[in-house]
Symmetry: C2
Subunit: 218 residues, 2 copies
DNA sequence: CTCGCAATTATGCAAGTGTATAATAACTTC
DNA sequence: GAAGTTATTATACACTTGCATAATTGCGAG
């Protein structure tokens, strides 16, 4: 008599697509790095968490180094995709508002995300390939912010020199990064929405445009 | 015939004071953690860098864990001491100015310092003792900043509610942290003094007080 | 159905890890 | 200057690490 489902198959393992396995390994790696750091995420534990044996890692990645790089790229892409998605529509001021707001709420603000970022920093500072990914992400984020700022200023009838716009973007980026960091490092130190509120106030002050997020159900 | 100095002593080692050895071990630990991360800083390499053999570590610290905690405490104390020293004199506005300025220049802004901070973050999030040290440092820094802000506002004839002052301190702290982070993570992305300048502009905007650092040789 | 390929597991190894214990030798004290 | 204390070194051990290689086995092609 069979079991009710396919859970207990007589097969010793299942052949999955390369994409599936790579993603599973990368996610397992990220989970472990967030808790244990890069060096603490051992190939054995990564394999266990991805429900495979350790030998399989070498089948998809030529070394642990390569797996870590892939995981870093994945993490950064996830972060940027999530934030960029929040500033898609509306006028320039509200796009900027939404961008700042989304950057300072879950899932962007998250202890694991900050822990991951911190764990990777060592590698970033020494491995050129990691450095490239880092630069790329940072520039993408800051350029996006700069465009939003310029558009918002233009919309409110002001205009700024390019160099000044960059300075503003750096400053706003720093506030966001700093709040993001503190929200992730000290999760219980801030109430819900507090970081976003402080972020909006600060960006408003720096750029000189009042940014207010409408509260739902007025 | 003797050598000219005591360099090549026949003694196999020298007995140093406990303080000397503890400090040497802690500094060696910090150096290594900045480059390799906590897990990469092995007891053997730490000992080698402190010019002792590895057994001695266990003589001064009951475990590597304890050494790492001591190193973290040392690092954080160094950072806070260095910044606090910069806001000792002058009127309230210039004390605030100097504090922000000093926080965004070497030796506070420094790739190694940021790398260290990042390396410790994992441990901070999981080890209660490390967490205590972290909270303590963060609160100390932020309270200091808040006092400076309140004093500066008072000096310019304004006053704020306590809760609002805290919000301002959080925001300014975030700008400083964010700029500190980026300056350390991307050392070549900013010119000398640029971070400090942006920081002063941002804090000025947030708090609503113009802060200007006098340039020497006017 | 079975054959062959490659995805997956199983096993092994050399180097590195923290820690424990024993042996040595530098300095203090009388 | 001899003896005792203890800072320091030397050695050993059990365990983990990443990686390599061989042995399986699922699964599609013919």
């Amino acid at each position: 008599m069979d079991d009710l489902d396919v859970q207990d198959d007589s097969r010793k393992f299942k052949r999955e697509s390369a994409e599936f396995r790579r993603e599973a390994l990368i996610l397992a790696t990220l989970n472990l790095i967030a808790v244990m750091g890069v060096r603490g995420a051992t190939v054995r534990e990564i394999a266990a968490r991805a429900n495979v044996t350790q030998g399989l890692i070498r089948h998809y990645f030529s070394s642990k180094e390569e797996l870590v790089q892939a995981a870093y790229e994945h993490h950064m892409n996830t972060l940027t995709d999530q934030t960029a998605a929040s500033s898609g529509m509306g006028n320039a001021v509200s796009r900027l508002t939404n961008f700042v707001d989304a950057s300072l709420r879950p899932p962007i603000v998250d202890p694991s995300a900050v822990a991951l970022w911190a764990s990777f920093l060592n590698k970033v500072q020494h491995d050129p390939k990691m450095q490239r990914i880092h630069q790329q992400t940072y520039n993408y984020f800051r350029d996006h912010l700069e465009k939003l700022i310029v558009a918002a200023l233009q919309e409110t009838g002001r205009s700024v020199a390019a160099s000044e716009a960059t300075q503003l973007a750096i400053a706003c980026n720093a506030v966001i990064d700093g709040l993001w960091l503190e929200g992730g490092a000290l999760p219980d130190a801030f109430s819900e929405g507090q970081l976003a509120q402080i972020g909006l106030n600060s960006v408003s002050a720096i750029v000189g445009i009042p940014l207010t997020k409408e509260v739902e159900q007025p």
